[in-house]
Symmetry: C2
Subunit: 350 residues, 2 copies
């Protein structure tokens, strides 16, 4: 059997991380990379990664997706360019219409129905019409605050309330994330950003709450409510990409609430900051289910966001290739898993 | 749409617990119960459970499975009678040949290929020939020491070693489990039982190790090694069903080891005992993955075995009805989840 062929669209931290991971795996080849960054276009993927090419074919990064894609040219495209379904839509449509399976890192695509029901229907139709599958995934949304919650409810006779908390470090992340989360700015700037809707914070509560509710059969009685507060640092904090003066913002604490019959049933707590250990904050992922039985889960420290998202996207490749055509979410497919053998062994070809 | 129809075969602690759970759910009816226990045969299921029948049809427990089963008479049969595939085989075959989907609580059926590859092939063929599906599940094997491990590796780029530990209480369990685990006997009797192979201990390491290895693509280089030690009590312990004198056996500590290329790669640690709190033992479920990244998960206290197995079997009903024909395992199907709405909403009828 031929190796599985993968196209990467987006070669920032996530896309290039997926490339590094894929190059360590058996039975899979990267056959094309699309990225618009001027310092990457025209360069060799292997050179940019600092990985020996060996006897593999050269891959030159192109900013022209049309020159890279022909109908059925790869088994799957990994799209790591956007956070929002509306922004990723045209790109996903283009890939699906070229009969390519797609995995998207866009947070909203993890459960697109929650924020974009109309676009979700369209993507499902386009995927089905072209006999391919599209999935959104990542560490969160995608696993920690949703799929893992759903899986643990599988051991429950009944569920009364769900709380998922993710306390994580933003230290490994670059300038884009610092800006989205307001790291390093003053409290006044943060307040301004919240008011003007220019701080993205965490994108995913709609998706995680929607996925959990639909999976276990709760009908949400209203929209997911969200709050966003600055995490103000008492000490100086510094990473490779940002400095935080005492009194300024070290991160962003978000909460989300899902209501069933007007009652708060699903609670999401997600404070993200750089260098949390400097003020004694223990990072971790926590799931608390009140039900029959109660379940209290802790993962300490948290599963790191960057590595986790890279791994989830690559590890879901065989499941997406094997799935029936259409738009799928993590609750439709078998559980994710590491791929330590030949990736081709996991693909069921007709 | 008509309610989903369920047949229960086996009405001990697990079967009757599934009945109680099913009676609280919407869109599903229990239409028959088979059990051989003389104190149950001929009795009303509702009377035995102490649950008002309401306007539901009477269900009288029968010891004659043939009188209860006609081709396609129910959507699914829940079989809670055995621990071993070989012992459950004829019953599963009978149900499949009557075109009924089957969920089995037999521990070996959670990954039957591990201990009974030949019977597994036969069951797969019989299920496919009859257009129905068979799944083995439960809390462990089925979730805690296998499926949950697999799901967490989904966030890993690479995995070096896996350890799963389940420290649980046997206090809620009845005489059959006390006997299987050697609770209440002397150390000499325990040693004798190990020698003569009359103590079952935990059944499931072959299955959990096999499921994990196959899921992530490790080829086991030899059989799973197991050890079994008595947990000797220093104090008097007492439950509804058993008394343990100081110096006697309060439970059974089992370990299991899976090898890849001769190296120990998967470690299972599973001490089970009555009244563990009397000597300060904290119960819990723990997963430790050494890899990229390392993952340390804890669920404290442990997810209780009885409730968990009941919930897993009932909650997997829609997934099994929806699955393609054949023998499936937990790694083939979407993640388990609680069912809080109408069960019919989860079934995709053709």
């Amino acid at each position: 059997m031929e190796n599985i062929k993968v196209l990467l669209w987006g070669f920032g931290a996530m896309g290039s991380g997926m490339a590094e991971m894929l190059l360590k795996k058996k039975g899979v080849d990267i056959t094309g990379v699309c990225d618009k960054h001027p310092q990457r276009v025209g360069k060799s993927m292997y050179e940019l990664l600092g990985t020996p090419r060996g006897n593999r074919a050269e891959v030159i990064i192109s900013d022209d997706i049309k020159s890279l894609v022909r109908e059925g040219c790869v088994d799957i495209a990994l799209l790591a360019t956007d956070s929002f379904t509306a922004k990723a839509f045209d790109k996903i449509q283009f890939l699906l219409e070229n009969k390519l399976n797609v995995i998207s890192t866009a947070e909203e695509m993890a459960y697109p129905k929650a924020s974009e029901p109309e676009l979700t229907k369209q993507l499902n139709t386009i995927a089905k019409d072209n006999g391919v599958t599209v999935l959104g995934t990542g560490i969160n949304p995608g696993l920690i605050m949703d799929l893992l919650v759903v899986a643990l409810t599988g051991a429950c006779i009944d569920v009364d309330e769900i709380e998922a908390e993710r306390v994580n470090s933003l230290s490994p992340f670059g300038p884009a994330v610092m800006e989205e989360q307001g790291v390093g700015i003053t409290q006044e700037e943060f307040a301004e950003g919240v008011k003007n809707n220019t701080l993205a914070g965490h994108v995913g509560f709609n998706e995680s709450v929607g996925m959990i509710a639909d999976a276990i059969g709760w009908k949400l009685s209203g929209p997911v409510k969200q709050s966003m507060e600055p995490i103000v640092s008492n000490v100086f904090r510094k990473t490779k990409y940002v400095e935080v003066q005492p009194g300024n913002v070290a991160g962003c604490s978000m909460k989300g609430f899902g209501y069933v019959g007007g009652e708060e049933k699903i609670r999401m707590i997600h404070p993200q900051q750089v260098e949390p250990q400097l003020e004694g904050t223990d990072t971790g992922d926590y799931i608390r289910i009140k039900g029959t039985p109660d379940i209290h889960m802790a993962i300490k420290p948290e599963i790191p966001g960057g590595i986790g998202t890279i791994a989830m996207c690559v590890n879901m490749i065989p499941h997406v290739i094997n799935a029936r055509a259409g738009l799928k979410t993590m609750i439709d497919l078998p559980v994710p898993r590491a791929i330590l053998g030949d990736m081709r062994d996991l693909v069921v070809r007709d």
